[in-house]
């Protein structure tokens, strides 16, 4: 198996792009990444996307995007793992290059969610859960995560406002990200007084629905110097799964797939949590941010919120997370999110993160989660 590196990155701003279609968003990111890499025609395209079928009546999406990006004819396939689709597509791209099958691969995560109203989109997102035994009861991802948060708060004696640091950190970091959806810092009071969606989850506990696309170009590390001044090496790529339904979990408060995927990734990269300079984690909900930190070895169980309270998750902290806004403030176009995490981590390792630059960033970890922890995909990048 060959070592794989990222030689080009591209992204669209995250937001409500009513004037830009799914295919145009994807093509923009793909073309930008190819231009950044100085690559004309790659061997293959892998596309991460969750909802194009349900919301856009569009399947065969990778084929459409290949054509729309001027790449008609190349190998093109779509990969789906709910909100982990972006990282899942990257996984396929990495396998294609590492195996020796292809030399130049472009991977794109793209999602369009704002063409219809929130209630419809909420229903579509429930396809990531168990339709027959969760969805039928009127649950949505908000209420599933809310039940998790409620149990966590009770078992560990943690009050709701202990989670405030997560959205506050994400929003503060997004101020300096021109591609972020929400670029205003929020005060603690804003969090505490926010409208309840499904108690105890309020508006600021949850990442926003959005449109966006992000892409990278991959090649074997031994050839990276032909294309990039500062290639980013993929040191680990690991996928693990758990039950889809929250009620089938052995221990609902422990994200076992996150744990398995993170531990495998550390092993592949030959590092541990203390070596990680920044962690682009999956803050779809503040409870998931806390549970991800715990399952990935950054905090003992029940103490994830302590990192937020102590400011350890900030840019100057011990475990900087969501350095360019995370899912909460950069936005969460679900199938694209995993690729935004990769693009942002690459920017940090290349020294291109501007005011949010983590000094001497050398190891970046990204983690993309499908459903309420059903699929967990962890990558470790070295730059």
């Amino acid at each position: 198996m060959r070592d794989v590196s990222i030689i080009g990155i591209g992204q669209t701003p995250v937001g409500e792009h009513w004037d830009t279609s799914l295919r145009d968003l994807g093509a923009q990111a793909i073309i930008a990444a190819l231009k950044d890499a100085g690559v004309g025609r790659p061997d293959a395209l892998y596309v991460g996307n969750m909802l194009s079928g349900q919301l856009g009546a569009q399947e065969q999406l990778a084929t459409l995007l290949a054509d729309w990006s001027g790449l008609r004819g190349i190998e093109a396939l779509r990969v789906e793992a709910a909100c982990a689709s972006g990282a899942a597509a990257l996984r396929m791209g990495i396998l294609a290059v590492a195996s020796g099958w292809h030399d130049l691969v472009v991977v794109c995560g793209v999602e369009k969610m704002t063409d219809m109203d929130g209630e419809e989109t909420t229903v579509a997102l429930m396809a990531a859960a168990d339709a027959e035994y969760e969805g039928i009861h009127g649950t949505s991802f908000v209420s599933l995560n809310a039940m998790l948060m409620r149990r966590y708060m009770e078992e560990y004696g943690v009050p709701h406002d202990a989670f405030a640091g997560f959205p506050m950190n994400s929003h503060a970091n997004a101020v300096n990200n021109p591609n972020a959806m929400f670029r205003q810092a929020i005060k603690r009071d804003t969090f505490v007084n926010a409208r309840m969606i499904a108690d105890p989850i309020n508006l600021f506990d949850s990442a926003p629905i959005a449109d966006g696309a992000a892409a990278v170009v991959l090649c074997p590390s031994e050839r990276a110097h032909e294309f990039a001044a500062h290639p980013v090496r993929i040191a680990a790529s690991s996928v693990a799964t758990d039950s889809v339904a929250l009620h089938d979990r052995h221990d609902p408060l422990f994200l076992a797939a996150v744990n398995a995927s993170a531990m495998k990734a550390y092993q592949q990269a030959g590092i541990g949590p203390s070596d990680v300079d920044l962690f682009e984690l999956h803050d779809a909900f503040s409870i998931i941010a806390a549970l991800s930190l715990e399952a990935s070895g950054f905090a003992p169980r029940g103490q994830g919120t302590q990192l937020a309270i102590a400011g350890e998750i900030g840019l100057q902290g011990r475990v900087p997370i969501c350095t360019l806004g995370g899912l909460k403030a950069r936005g969460h176009p679900v199938g694209a999110t995993g690729m935004y995490q990769i693009v942002e981590a690459s920017m940090q390792l290349r020294g291109q993160a501007g005011a949010n630059q983590i000094p001497d960033a050398h190891w970046a970890m990204t983690q993309n989660i499908g459903g309420v922890g059903g699929t967990a995909i962890t990558h470790i990048l070295e730059g």
Binding site: H137, G138, S143, D248, P252
Partner: protein, 137 residues
């Protein structure tokens, strides 16, 4: 009208029927062909009592499409007496009276209606255990 998907699971929805794994003894709900605990084949039927306690809950104020008419409602994870956790709505209780650990029992209720001309889907919900006192005659 989507009849088959609901008809297929009628024994689960209306009777809370699941399985017990012959190899490891774990209780399974819903039934499945392969035991998730020991990975052996599972097919021995088991009828749950319907009794359980609330493991967690959340009151939904912004429902997904199709459930607007029922809002606000409370969804819960219920730990069945026999072991498995199930997702279901709570009924016959005020949201502020719900607590983790509340003893509940299964009842059959309308889960949703598929439009004015569509199917009425019935299934399990859970209510606080109803104690009925009988009087000597």
């Amino acid at each position: 009208m989507r009849l088959a998907p609901h008809w297929r699971v009628r024994r689960q929805r209306l009777q809370l029927r699941g399985e017990i794994c012959e190899s490891c003894g774990q209780h399974l709900f819903p039934p499945r062909d392969v035991c998730p605990h020991c990975h052996q084949p599972a097919d021995e039927q088991f009828a749950y009592s319907g009794e359980g306690t609330v493991y967690s809950y959340s009151t939904v104020y912004e429902p997904p499409h199709g459930y607007e008419q029922y809002a606000p409602y409370t969804v819960a994870l219920v730990r069945l007496k026999e072991g498995p956790l199930v997702t279901a709505q709570l009924t016959d209780i005020d949201p502020q009276d719900v607590r983790i650990g509340l003893p509940v029992e299964m009842v059959t209720r309308v889960l949703r209606e598929e439009g004015e001309d569509g199917m009425i889907v019935y299934g399990y919900k859970f209510r606080p255990i109803l104690h009925v006192e009988s009087q000597a005659v």
